[in-house]
């Protein structure tokens, strides 16, 4: 019998992780990495939830140690983790601790006669690769959402008594300005390298206003050009979003971006390259010059509401 351990934290919605675990394991347990002083609730659709907390869990090394111990204790051969920044660090360390086979950012998993396989995006989002996981311990990660409200019976947080890992000392921790947090936005207009100059960002801003949308962007806009701050960045190294309407303006559609927005309900892409990978992830593919389309669209939207 195959037993899965779903790893989560109190503010995450782990339902997708539980679903992924259910597709390949008979029994699914959840483990909540919480604050020692905090509370945790029972994870729905699992066969049991435990919660751990304590100072050793401040570092990724400490969490990896605690999860390796929990996997051994519960006899879990499958570990499913959130694909957040914090857990990416933990996932790599846990893979090493368990000598496991890891498939990050999986879309789906299944069992074949050869073993467990996972599908994941690669090569700039053009391809889905199927990976055979050839170790006794299998680790999968998948995108998760922030949990809106938590309800259910409370689980006591067990203090984790492992020693503090040596070598890393936290000097300060500051919450980043999350104004304009896109993870819960209903409509988003994002732009990428197709926008040629910083002055033209105002034009995209007018479109987002006309649609009642928040402004997002792709990685190069924040990291290379620094036209917008990190909270606006959609993608693997930014925020994962799932609005009802997502506009991708002048974004080619690298995997970095696609993994951050592919769960949006309705996706419109505007790009002058008919072969741009973004079109394959879109409901509506608008092939044309954004400098011709966007101003006309702003006008037409204004006329519509006038």
């Amino acid at each position: 019998m195959s037993r899965a351990l779903v790893v989560t934290q109190p503010d995450l919605d782990a339902s997708r992780l539980v679903g992924l675990a259910r597709s390949i394991a008979e029994e699914v347990h959840a483990i909540v990495v919480a604050d020692a002083a905090g509370t945790a609730i029972e994870e729905p659709n699992t066969d049991g939830t435990t919660a751990i907390g304590g100072p050793a869990l401040e570092t990724a090394e400490g969490v990896a140690d605690a999860l390796a111990a929990a996997a051994a204790e519960q006899g879990a051969d499958i570990i499913v983790l959130p694909a957040t920044h914090r857990f990416r660090e933990i996932t790599a360390l846990l893979t090493a601790r368990l000598d496991g086979a890891c498939a990050p950012e999986t879309i789906s998993a299944s069992r074949s006669s050869e073993g467990i396989t996972a599908d994941r995006l690669a090569y700039g989002g053009v391809a889905i690769v199927t990976v055979l996981l050839q170790r006794a311990h299998v680790l999968l990660t998948a995108a998760v959402d922030i949990r809106a409200t938590a309800s259910g019976s409370e689980v006591a947080v067990k203090p984790c008594l492992l020693p503090m890992p040596a070598g890393k000392e936290l000097m300060s921790r500051v919450a980043l300005d999350q104004t304009g947090d896109l993870s819960s936005a209903e409509r988003i207009v994002s732009f990428g390298r197709g926008v040629r100059s910083r002055e033209d960002v105002a034009m995209i801003g007018r479109l987002s206003e006309a649609l009642g949308a928040d402004l997002g962007c792709s990685r190069p806009i924040v990291e290379d050009l620094r036209w917008l701050e990190l909270p606006h960045q959609v993608g693997l190294t930014g925020t994962t979003v799932k609005p009802a309407l997502y506009f991708a303006v002048g974004i080619s559609g690298q995997i970095q971006h696609l993994v951050g927005m592919r769960d949006s309900k309705y996706i419109v892409a505007i790009n002058n390259n008919p072969n741009a990978p973004i079109f394959e992830a879109s409901d509506l593919a608008v092939v044309g010059d954004l400098y011709e389309i966007v101003p006309r669209l702003v006008e037409a939207l204004a006329a519509r509401t006038a």
């Binding site: 990724a60 920044h85 990416r88 996932t91 790599a92 360390l93 893979t95 090493a96 601790r97 496991g100 086979a101 890891c102 050869e114 396989t117 995006l121 690669a122 090569y123 700039g124 053009v126 391809a127 889905i128 690769v129 199927t130 990976v131 055979l132 996981l133 050839q134 170790r135 070598g167 890393k168 000392e169 936290l170 000097m171 921790r173 919450a175 980043l176 999350q178 649609l211 009642g212 990291e223 990190l230 693997l236 190294t237 009802a244 309407l245 080619s252 690298q254 995997i255 309705y266 996706i267 419109v268 394959e280 409901d283 509506l284 608008v286 092939v287 044309g288 389309i293 037409a300 939207l301």
Partner: protein, 261 residues
């Protein structure tokens, strides 16, 4: 201070396409280059070298063709480069790459600081630096946005899920860096051509104390068994033509989808 910078030699993912006829991924024809994310790690190392007089060594696990990436890295300011290659080079998985890098670090080191980019452009696993840190029993941080050397330790800023943290990290340490850490210097073709091949050592697995057999696809932790075009269930309508027509059609599509306010 001795710094090892781990770089990956990758296909240019913007040039990868599926052949519509054969349904095969046109990987072979795609041009190859240094992984963009790793260029930021290299830049950080070269800046430390300029400030403190560190030695910077480049490490790469990949095909012989990656010699080109090695020369580019040396031209950007590294002292020398070490490429480990073998029959597994085209298919090696992240755990195998990390094991070979650990072998390289042990045999060519010791190193005080090991740097790489947060992810690779082709595989996007974001696993190698963490597995390498665990193998060397060194502290690990990813998402590094600031780095200052301070004697036997480094001060590291990093961003993760809505928080910015500052750590003091004891050396030796493994760090993977965010692209927002710095702006890599540009390297001209002429500078790359001037790099002597004597600065690039090409080794086998046995040279770093490991056996080729460990890295064959059948023995690896993960093995790619299938590859197909990403599904296109979404693509329902393509709008093209005169901008005014396109905009009108676009608005009626949005209205029909019920996504306008």
């Amino acid at each position: 201070m001795r710094i090892l910078v781990c770089v990956k030699h990758v296909p240019d993912t913007t040039e990868i396409r599926f052949d519509p006829v054969t349904k095969e991924l046109r990987l072979r024809q795609a041009p190859t280059k240094i992984n963009n994310y790793d260029e930021h790690a290299l830049e950080a190392a070269v800046r430390l070298r300029e400030q403190l007089g560190a030695e910077v060594v480049i490490a790469c696990i990949g095909p012989e063709e990656a010699g080109k990436t090695m020369k580019t890295a040396v031209a950007a300011g590294a002292d020398r480069a070490v490429l480990v290659t073998g029959p597994w080079a085209g298919e090696i998985d992240p755990a195998g790459t990390a094991a070979l890098l650990a072998g390289l670090a042990r045999t060519q080191g010791p190193f005080d600081l090991i740097l790489s980019g947060d992810v690779s452009e082709d595989g996007y696993h974001s696993l190698v630096p963490g597995i390498l840190a665990a193998a060397l029993d060194s502290p690990f941080l990813r998402g590094v946005t600031g780095l200052t050397a301070d004697g036997a330790s480094v001060l590291v800023d990093r961003q993760t899920d809505g928080v910015e943290e500052t750590y003091r990290v004891r050396l030796p340490a493994v760090l993977s860096v965010s692209s927002s850490l710095n702006e890599p210097r540009t390297v001209t073709t002429l500078q790359v051509m001037k790099v002597s091949m004597s600065k690039v050592a090409t080794l086998n697995a046995s040279d770093v104390g490991l056996d080729d057999a460990l890295f064959q696809p059948q023995a690896a932790a993960t093995r790619i068994v299938g590859i197909r075009p990403a599904a296109q269930p979404r693509r329902q309508e393509v709008l093209t033509g005169e901008p005014d027509d396109v905009v009108q059609k676009l608005i009626s599509n949005l209205e029909n989808a019920g996504v306008l306010s």
